[in-house]
């Protein structure tokens, strides 16, 4: 590390950080889960600043709509695994950092082995299922977790499971959002994100990682930061930790825990796909109704005589009044409608079959969509 003093001289000059901070960085092992927008900015700083070892986990491939915000990737990378492309790009930034890539989805069965080998975990994932799963295994293994998440023009950052001087461990994601209260409806809403936002939040997340490793400054322990890009406002909220009843208490419980309650979408008999939808739209069967459960402002709209718009809170009242035997609920991506369909079945007799449209509004052929 001393041989690299010139490279790191400007950060070593920060006296609170100094050679000690730089040495700590060179010894640190950081696992970054998710290699999307947050990770693209975070990783570049962690590597350039001299973190010793970095693991990158992502099973997804680069797509064209990633490019405005996932700035490690270019058009030539489309279709390639994100973790592998990121590793390849980052190696050229700093040969002193050892980089491992993992082309896999973090799950109950691999999380223990993945996380055990690293000292700090960074959550850059884009779904609640992974966020709860990573939170729980980090809590069980007492690994500090640097969390961030995005919504349209806003971002959140927090540091979980930091060991205090008296041996106490700080709060975690379930202290904020216990799963009992979680309504996965949020996950489906395709609200979009403006390209620069993940860069800003990823940098804040990177600064928390660097501070955790070096011990410089105060990290967001038992606090959650909300940032709004449109207003350039930062608000920090304090919270206290309280044991969440539904959290797994052991590695064995974790491995058997059902995280799919928060899954984006899973196929089953109560769902219909776009092929069946097209058959219905273009066939002679009139005994069905398509129910858009999204809010008024959500686009694109579907233009078809069989489409009704009913908000989720009115479904149990309105659906029994529909004089058809097949009701297909749809939302933006298919998750809200899946949850709504299972809920309304409790109120509706067996003469009506309730389905959820897999893939949401985008399963409709383009000629039915109006933006």
């Amino acid at each position: 590390m001393l041989g690299n003093s010139e490279r790191y001289i400007r950060q070593i000059q920060c006296k609170e950080f100094g050679l000690k901070g730089q040495a700590a960085l060179s010894m640190a092992k950081v696992l970054v889960i998710g290699a999307g927008g947050l990770a693209c900015s975070l990783l570049q700083y962690l590597v350039s600043m001299g973190v010793g070892k970095i693991g990158i986990v992502d099973y997804d491939t680069v797509s064209v709509s990633n490019l405005p915000r996932q700035i490690l990737y270019s058009a030539q990378d489309i279709g390639l695994n994100k973790a592998e492309v990121a590793k390849h790009k980052l190696i050229s930034l700093n040969h002193n950092t050892e980089i491992e890539s993992f082309n896999l989805k973090v799950s109950n069965s691999n999380a223990y082995d993945l996380i055990s080998n690293y000292s700090i975990i960074v959550d850059c994932t884009d779904n609640l299922e992974s966020k709860y799963l990573i939170n729980d295994i980090c809590f069980l293994l007492k690994k500090p977790l640097v969390y961030a998440s995005l919504s349209k023009y806003e971002g959140q950052v927090a540091v979980f499971n930091k060991l205090g001087d008296s041996g106490n461990i700080s709060g975690n994601y379930r202290d904020l959002f216990p799963v009992e209260n979680a309504k996965p409806i949020l996950n489906c809403n395709d609200v979009g994100v403006l390209g620069v936002l993940p860069g800003i939040i990823g940098c804040i997340q990177a600064s928390e990682v660097i501070k955790l490793i070096s011990g410089v400054g105060d990290v967001l322990v038992n606090k959650i930061l909300y940032y709004n890009m449109l207003k350039q406002s930062f608000k920090i909220f304090n919270y206290s930790s309280a044991k969440c009843a539904s959290m797994p208490n052991s590695i064995e419980e974790f491995k058997n825990y059902n995280y799919s309650i928060l899954k984006e979408c899973s196929w089953d008999d109560d769902m219909i796909d776009k092929n069946i939808l097209v058959e219905l739209l273009e066939g002679n069967d009139n005994d069905f109704c398509l129910v858009d459960i999204r809010e008024d402002y959500e686009l694109p709209k579907v233009i078809h005589s069989k489409v009704l718009q009913i908000s989720t809170e009115y479904l149990s009242n309105e659906l029994p009044k529909l004089n058809v035997s097949k009701i297909i609920l749809f939302c933006q991506k298919g998750q809200r409608s899946k949850i709504a369909s299972s809920k309304v079945k409790l109120f509706i007799n067996d003469s009506k079959a309730i389905y959820s449209l897999s893939g949401g509004v985008y399963s409709f052929p383009n000629n039915y969509l109006k933006y």
Partner: protein
């Protein structure tokens, strides 16, 4: 009156980043008042913060407090 700051996608349901509602003494009353005025919030998960600290349903609302509605985010 209580001044309420609104975050994340809740802004789309409430229609503004700031809203004033009549004073409520408890968090439970605040939830009821919000659900009455904005029924779509019943289907949403969100925390309530008072003067920058997240509070629970047993807590009381202090007059003049700044209240914030904080939803989870899931993008990355």
């Amino acid at each position: 009156m209580l001044e309420i700051l609104v975050f994340g996608e809740l802004v789309d349901f409430i229609g503004s980043e700031k809203v004033n509602i009549s004073y409520c003494t408890t968090v439970e009353e605040l939830y009821s008042s919000l659900f009455k005025q904005f029924p779509a919030l019943r289907e949403k998960t969100f925390l309530i913060a008072q003067n920058n600290s997240i509070i629970s349903t047993q807590d009381l609302i202090i007059k003049g407090s700044e209240i914030a509605l904080l939803p989870p985010f899931s993008g990355g």
